[in-house]
Subunit: 219 residues, 2 copies
């Protein structure tokens, strides 16, 4: 019984890592489609988001079965409940990658990025990609040094996000209102993606150390 | 033991209803501050959001204690796990009310609403208020007729949301890029609020009937 239980816990863990990998792949394609206005690639991200949703549902069902059949307590129980929460955050990160791809498709054949913000967005995309890569490794290895690294990347994204809003409000802004809206939304998607990444990383840290470094609510 | 368990389930239920009430109050104040650029009221919403977060954390801790101590199965287990998910959605709805209030504060003393979209936003606000009121009643009474009503309001909000984006992209738009961004973000906050409302209402329906009417993923 105990061995079966450990195997089941392991399979929930493996599912989480697999979902994180799918999200990383989705973000990479979404960023590429966003940069290059590649509508086919955007279409791929949108279609594949359904796979992430499906994997999340399967993980959740498995976690609930474990709760029902094994009645785990203490740290095993926290791990299962934590997995339910982390899978919800990862699924949401997949949605945000899809939203980024949808912006690319919406503006096709134009780019959704105003020229003066190209470097800002390139950096935001790079940071988000670093966050999901580090998060996948963190989920796999429990190397807690990555938690601070993810938080650092998130802080830089927050600054860039504020900069996008300042640029749009500035008198020197020459883009159309519609372009301003695209930039604001894209910036928000990148920023939310990072927030969810931080939220998952803190849950991993909590499950490993038993200590919570802040508020329990997902942001 | 059984009686204690039923009381504990009941208290989780009561907590959910209470959080829904706090969200309804937050949205009402947020909408008022957004309409009238009332910065003090906006400040209140922002401060009170911490109370909603605190209540959610308390509910989640209680739910996890019940899982640990009572090892519920079948429909009781689904109810507890469902409560964890619903509390997360309600907490997020509170965040969105706070975001709406923050837009009001950011633009003070100007209004965050472009004149030509005033009626659209008034209707979106009204629909969101109806959704959270109906959701609170649904959580209390399990009157499933409200689920379809909430979905209907959400469909109308989706149309209004698309209309805001069309208005901004239209050649007749005369507002600044910054005002366009505010309108787009506000519209998105109202739309997301409704989405979470639908998500919670479907979970209630699932817990009452045992049948799921669509995908499990929160939107």
């Amino acid at each position: 019984m105990r061995k079966v239980f450990q195997e089941e816990l392991k399979s929930v863990h493996d599912d989480l890592v697999e979902i994180a990998r799918l999200v990383a792949a989705a973000l990479e394609k979404a960023v590429e489609s966003f940069k290059s206005a590649d509508v086919d690639l955007a279409q791929e991200v949108i279609a594949e988001d359904a796979r992430i949703d499906f994997r999340q549902t399967a993980l959740d069902e498995r976690a609930i079965d474990i709760l029902a059949l094994q009645g785990p307590v203490a740290s095993d129980l926290r791990t299962i409940v934590g997995s339910l929460r982390m899978s919800a955050s990862l699924e949401r990160m997949g949605d945000l990658a899809r939203h980024i791809a949808q912006l690319a498709r919406l503006r096709y054949p134009e780019s959704a990025i105003p020229v003066q913000l190209e470097r800002t967005f390139a950096r935001m995309a790079e940071l988000d990609q670093q966050i999901i890569t580090d998060l996948t490794t963190l989920l796999e290895s429990h190397d807690l040094a990555l938690v601070a690294k993810i938080q650092g990347a998130n802080a830089e994204i927050d600054d860039l996000h504020a900069g996008v809003f300042r640029a749009i409000a500035d008198a020197s802004w020459t883009g159309s209102p519609a372009l301003a809206v695209d930039a604001a939304l894209a910036s928000r998607y990148f920023e939310r993606f990072a927030d969810h990444g931080v939220s998952v990383s803190r849950k991993v840290s909590y499950l490993v150390t038993g200590e919570w470094d802040g508020d329990m609510t997902s942001n």
